[in-house]
């Protein structure tokens, strides 16, 4: 089964954008006719690596060789001509073309038809078109879309869109196929089809390297797995070995934050029996996929509730929907006495909900101080438009009070208040995002993946701060990929997978329940690992998180 001939060799690849290192000295190889999976937690750099391989991004250093030829500096179309084809995470079909035409568009570049000849209307262009059509039908047959060949690409459902993307990539004559999250958003039937198709490709002499979050797909397909975390390769090898590797499991489940004043053994009973936030049977469609499926959860006043789950489970979509950025397709969102369905994002802050979004989303060219004061915008605006130009004394006092609260919580922000937000470090930026959300004196604070890209000590700090806030009466909804750290401070938690709640209960229960980590990671073998901290000998020096 192992061909042994290296098709692709990557060595020492480093990519940095500004100050952010996306890939750090990455080396992988792919042999002919292998199926290799590239996995890793959110932000690990998987798509960046694909972009480097496909010629869409040039690495700052390192080499990429395809069939012995150096390709890292070549533009995307040249790389493709040499035999590497790729799909995109968001598929990006050519909407105005039909299904067949999308595939034909993949084959055009290879035909080398010139401009002048193309205007003839007979002869070569017709012959080429016929050939392209034939080939397109062949590829559509391989992926099982033949019966929809004439339909407009725009109406395909998600699963078939991905298959079309694959057919299109095949049409370019690629020998090495790079797939970016082919399984995302597919239902079980579609996933089975997808797995069949990919196996068929390999049987047809193709080599596959795919990025994937869905472990069931990885489990069924991958012959070898490469694991990225924070831009570095932390594990590589046979699936069974990789899955049991402590570094890998830790990368996914997160490190314990060892937060001071960790949560009590049982959940606190909330001060008020009525939930502050009541999400009931929520369904949400996002880019055509069913991102949330009949989901229900509640948060009581004064609780910290964590929502954990693997990537693509719908955690971020949940927060964005509550925050008013994504419309609902069913179900209700109740906050205090109000229903939030249909309330626009700009009004949510006024209702008493603040959010520190994924990726911080600061105003990078404005100062720290400006970022914070803008967090108070709704209050100031509510007092009358004129206050945007000249604040009344009362408003100014209110603003100053909020600022003081935030500066007490995060003294580093006071120090750096004149600095541009874009120059802050990751941890400081996260503090600013939280501070900004706090400026509106919310009743509910929502955080989307605050630990993303942060070193463990910083994560500790942040978690400790959240505990303080809770003690001061704030209710917190914490979405986290780092389940261990989140469960340390949460009262209760929900585990999400594929848009549904698959487990819920007090954080202590969940942390101790080993079956949960299987649900979380989606693969067997993780069964032996608990979500709770206290696993032996993980804190070796080789731990990738120690920065």
């Amino acid at each position: 089964m192992k061909a042994g001939h290296p098709l692709l060799e990557v060595s020492g690849v480093t990519v940095s954008f500004g100050g952010l290192v996306a890939l750090d000295n990455v080396g992988v190889h792919v042999d002919e006719r292998e199926i290799v999976a590239l996995i890793g937690p959110n932000g690990a750099g998987k798509t960046t690596l694909l972009n480097v391989l496909a010629g869409a991004t040039a690495p700052n250093s390192g080499t990429v060789s395809f069939r012995g030829r150096r390709i890292e500096r070549l533009p995307a179309h040249r790389v493709n001509a040499l035999g590497i084809a790729r799909t995109f995470q968001s598929v990006e079909l050519l909407q105005r073309l039909s299904v067949r035409e999308n595939v034909m568009a993949g084959g055009v570049a290879r035909t080398g038809l010139g401009l002048g000849v193309s205007m003839l209307g007979f002869g070569p262009p017709k012959a080429v078109e016929a050939r392209l059509r034939e080939q397109a039908d062949e590829f559509l047959g391989i992926v099982g879309l033949s019966q929809r060949a004439d339909e407009p690409a725009a109406i395909l459902p998600a699963g078939q869109q991905r298959l079309l993307g694959i057919a299109r990539a095949l049409a370019t004559g690629g020998e090495l196929i790079l797939l970016d999250e082919p399984g995302a958003g597919l239902n079980d039937i579609e996933k089975t089809e997808l797995i069949d198709v990919i196996r068929r490709l390999r049987d047809n002499h193709r080599t596959i390297l795919f990025v994937e979050h869905d472990m069931s797909v990885v489990g069924q397909l991958a012959e070898r797995i490469v694991v990225l975390d924070r831009g570095r390769v932390i594990a590589e090898g046979l699936p069974d070995d990789v899955r049991r590797s402590p570094e890998v499991i830790e990368a996914y489940l997160g490190q314990p934050a060892a937060a001071a004043g960790a949560r009590p053994a049982t959940a606190r009973t909330p001060a008020d029996a009525r939930p502050l936030l009541n999400v009931a049977n929520l369904s949400v469609r996002y880019s055509g996929l069913l991102a949330l499926d009949d989901l229900s959860l509640t948060i009581g006043t004064g609780e910290i509730v964590a929502v954990v789950g693997a990537n693509g489970a719908g955690k971020s979509t949940l927060l964005k929907t509550i925050a008013g950025f994504v419309p609902t397709a069913g179900g209700t969102i109740g906050f205090e006495e109000r229903t939030l369905n249909g309330v626009r994002a700009e009004e949510i802050v006024g209702a008493g909900i603040g959010m520190a979004p994924e990726g911080r989303e600061l105003f990078p060219t404005l100062s720290v101080m400006d970022n914070l004061t803008l967090g108070n915008y709704t209050r100031i605006r509510a007092a009358g438009f004129v206050n945007l130009l000249f604040r009344s004394r009362r408003l100014q006092q209110q603003l100053d009070r909020q600022l003081q609260t935030v500066f007490e919580l995060f003294p580093v922000l006071l120090e750096r208040r004149g600095q541009s937000a874009g120059t802050l470090s990751g941890g400081q930026g996260q503090m600013l995002a939280i501070g900004r959300a706090l400026m509106s004196a919310p009743k509910l604070l929502m955080l989307d993946e605050p630990s993303l890209g942060l070193a463990p000590q910083v994560v500790s700090q942040i978690m400790a701060t959240l505990l303080r806030l809770r003690d001061d009466g704030l209710t917190i909804l914490l979405v986290e990929q780092n389940a261990r750290a989140a469960l340390e401070i949460a009262d209760r938690a929900y585990v999400l997978a594929a848009g549904k709640v698959v487990a819920s209960g007090s954080a202590a229960e969940l942390a101790g329940d080993k079956a949960i980590s299987e649900a979380y990671l989606g693969w067997e073998g993780a069964r032996d690992t608990a979500l709770s901290a206290g696993e032996p000998a993980v804190e070796a020096a080789a731990s990738p998180g120690s920065r």
Partner: protein
């Protein structure tokens, strides 16, 4: 030597107008990411309205203020009715603002006529003598007003809360919504602001340069060039770019021929677009849309 000084002053005067037009572009671009190719026509309209009102006996100050207000409101209306529904892609946005500009020109011709018109100078006609060069007193008004407005706008965008909210819209519209800023409203306000700025520019320069229905095109395009030279998004950049452009134009008109000055302005534009598209001061913040 006095020739050179004369050209310099003339250049500074017309450069101030370009700078003001450039700032009008900036106000809109900073909030919406749209480049309003009708910016110059706001200037033309402002002047024409003031002239028309004075022609029926309105006192000058009132006419000027009213004209500015009307054009500002028009800017808001345009944003609401034409820009918002149709600017999904950059190219569509460009074409629709071009269309609006043409429409405004046509309206001007229909309402008034195609003859060049003038406003009386604000403080008389006696030329002032500076180091051997003569200046019409209106030039002081032009440069002075431009400087005051540029400084005011600089402070507005850099220091005032509303100005920062504006910039927030351009820099990160998602986060702006998150803190409660209504981006569409800000877009309307920015168009109103740019309308007002344009009207002021048109009114103050008409006593010197006259104004007719198609004068707006030149002002607008040169204002755009000023922004490219100075750096899109910076009021100060637009000012510097405008002054540089005005002076270079004046010198080339004086020493070569006035026909070449347009070509030179555009060659300068191409130079910056290829060599330093972010302009002298660097683009302030990329409008992320």
């Amino acid at each position: 030597m006095t020739d050179a000084l004369q050209f310099l002053f003339a250049g500074l005067v017309i450069g101030s107008i370009y700078g003001l037009a450039g700032i009008g572009f900036t106000a809109v671009y900073n909030v919406t990411g749209v480049v309003n190719f009708a910016q110059g026509d706001f200037a033309m309209l402002g002047a024409m309205l003031a002239i028309a009102m004075m022609a029926v006996g309105t006192p000058m100050i009132v006419a000027i203020v009213l004209a500015i207000i009307v054009v500002a409101l028009l800017g808001g209306v345009i944003e609401r009715l034409a820009i918002r529904p149709a600017s999904q892609t950059v190219i569509r946005g460009i074409i629709i603002t071009i269309g609006l500009g043409v429409l405004l020109q046509g309206v001007a011709v229909v309402l008034w006529d195609s003859n060049p018109k003038s406003l009386p100078a604000f403080s008389g006609e006696t030329p002032i003598n500076v180091l051997g060069a003569t200046l019409p007193p209106q030039s002081i008004w032009v440069v002075g007003t431009a400087v005051v407005l540029m400084v005011a706008l600089h402070f507005f965008f850099q220091r005032s809360y509303l100005g920062k909210a504006f910039r927030a819209c351009a820099v990160n519209p998602f986060a702006a919504r998150l803190v409660g800023v209504r981006v569409p409203t800000m877009a309307s306000i920015s168009f109103m602001l740019s309308g007002a700025l344009g009207a002021v520019a048109g009114i103050i320069v008409t006593p010197i340069a006259l104004m007719q229905y198609d004068s707006g095109i030149g002002i607008g395009i040169k204002g755009f060039i000023a922004c490219i030279i100075g750096g899109f998004g910076h009021p100060i950049g637009a000012a510097i770019g405008g002054l540089m452009l005005g002076v270079i134009e004046a010198f080339s008109a004086g020493y070569l021929s006035s026909g070449y000055k347009d070509a030179i302005a555009f060659i300068l534009l191409l130079g910056f677009l290829f060599a330093r598209p972010e302009g002298i001061m660097g683009e302030m913040e990329k409008a992320q849309h």
